[in-house]
Symmetry: C2
Subunit: 133 residues, 2 copies
């Protein structure tokens, strides 16, 4: 059983995902559904493990499943500039999110510090900042 000719349950374990996730990826068109041998049980190969892990790695880089689909259509490695364009766009998005989160970080830090140094707590600075302006 050298990672070849598995059933869906084995594939799920090998790829480290829930069995239902595989079905979901098939429905989304991210993973091919092997032909079923006439009322029998579908068989999967090591290629499917690779593909699932591709999806998971791309997700960890912040790509949505729709975007992963676009990347998978370039999977032959012969469309480098298209792939690059997708990555560059995602990079811009990631940087925008980073900027937003940094702002949030500073605001929260400031408010938490104010709450900490506040003694009489007539009015909590955090609550006050949410109430005002």
């Amino acid at each position: 059983m050298h990672k070849q000719d598995m059933t869906i349950g084995v594939l799920a374990r090998q790829a480290g995902v829930n069995l239902e996730t595989i079905r979901y990826y098939q429905r989304r068109g991210l993973l091919p559904e092997p032909a079923k041998p006439l009322g029998g049980i579908r068989r999967y190969s090591a290629n499917d493990i690779t593909r699932i892990q591709f999806i998971k790695r791309a997700q960890h880089l912040g790509f949505s499943l729709e975007e992963v689909g676009a990347l998978l259509r370039l999977e032959d490695g012969a469309h480098c500039s298209e792939a690059r364009a997708i990555a560059v766009e995602k990079l811009a998005e990631v940087r925008k999110r980073l900027a937003g989160l940094r702002g949030i970080e500073h605001t929260l830090e400031k408010l938490a510090n104010q709450c900490a140094t506040q003694k009489g707590n007539v009015c909590c600075p955090l609550i006050a900042s949410l109430l005002e302006n």
Copy 2:
């Protein structure tokens, strides 16, 4: 009509949210539903604008509606240490997300650069990195 005694539609416009969002917040228990004058139409006050804006500001700081609910229960400003605890926890979350996003940023940047300098594009580095390891 000095921001007092509005109908829900006016409240929505004043607060800058969709009318249905107000109903949704009421269902979620984030916003009180005023008593209805016997088969009539509910009336809202400036307090409700404040409360909706509180919710929106807290969301922009990264709080979920459930967390906003917790903050609203401390709204009197007399529970500064509880509010601070919530903020500190959220700050830790935000920092974790920041670290993750920074890693993604670096990886995407590296891959996009490799794609850019790649000439023969035998195999796109981005695709390759998603396929391997």
